[in-house]
Symmetry: C2
Subunit: 94 residues, 2 copies
């Protein structure tokens, strides 16, 4: 699945903010866009990058496309960082 894509996706502030919005609940592309001073096209571009990185899932409902955070990939990134940091990821009980 590739950490390169995932970290790349996380490296942009707009995309991190989108993820934080999705933390609360799934939102349509339009709802997401309304939080930013950007065109829908640009939001779509960012959503696509998040989707490719598997950080979000999309689901069609009527005329809308709802995006949702994919927690499992977030956890995979945490594991990578945990490995970098060394130890067993549960240092406080070592």
């Amino acid at each position: 699945m590739g950490f390169a894509e995932t970290f790349k996706a996380l490296s942009d502030p707009v995309r991190r903010e989108i993820l934080m919005l999705l933390k609360e609940k799934p939102l349509s592309a339009g709802e997401i866009g309304s939080h930013f001073e950007m065109t829908g096209a640009t939001i779509s571009y960012h959503l696509n990058i998040l989707k490719k990185a598997d950080l979000v899932t999309e689901e069609r409902e009527k005329n809308f496309i709802f995006y949702d955070l994919n927690v499992s990939v977030v956890e995979e990134v945490m594991l990578w960082l945990s490995d970098l940091r060394g130890g067993d990821g549960d240092e406080k009980r070592a």
Copy 2:
């Protein structure tokens, strides 16, 4: 300290590999460079980005500059991800 800089620094594969090398032990700029097919100048550029993101520390010793991983910033990134993921970061015991 700024997550933007930190995530940006983590978004490059060369820089992530450098961090993984430093996980083992501090290394000089030259030793780091010898792991890559790049000029020392380019390695220096990457080290500078990691330094600005506070992901590595540097220490002079004789004619060498040794770089070391700064674990605490890695942990801060993990906390950000933990927040994104929701819950208390210790889900398995919830």
